[in-house]
Symmetry: C2
Subunit: 89 residues, 2 copies
Amino acid sequence: MLELRQTVEATTDQEKKALQHVQEALSHAAVRPEAAAFLIGPREERIALPEPLFRILRQAAAMLSHGHRVTLAPVDKELSTQEAADLLN
Amino acid sequence: MLELRQTVEATTDQEKKALQHVQEALSHAAVRPEAAAFLIGPREERIALPEPLFRILRQAAAMLSHGHRVTLAPVDKELSTQEAADLLN
């Protein structure tokens, strides 16, 4: 299986501080996640984060802001070569 | 070690569609990630996503929109009971 595991960590104090800020914003947002996290699209439009992505984001912010390295990986099945290419590009 | 693994997946077609939209926005944003992903704080302020979090978000969106379950977990060391409580609350 191709390796699509992504491992990240906060490397500077500045990054840890930013992550704590994010974590705080996300904990305030627990009640209304759809109003708390969005992306800005190519035409400056707001795109809400779907719930599974929001959960990953919140957990990652919590772990990273505590100084942990975290890893993200697919769990269920192998990827086709085409899928892997799409994901890695 | 306490289990802080988070596993999520897109469960509906609507969610997969939303995730594809997010993935598209994120791929456009690859050049200027700091301009593409924000959270809204409790006082409606924009909070930029730190880079490690942005990378997790992009990879998660790519995998989830292809229908994969993904799992996020700490990789390097055990958590203290207090840290686990903070993360799980």
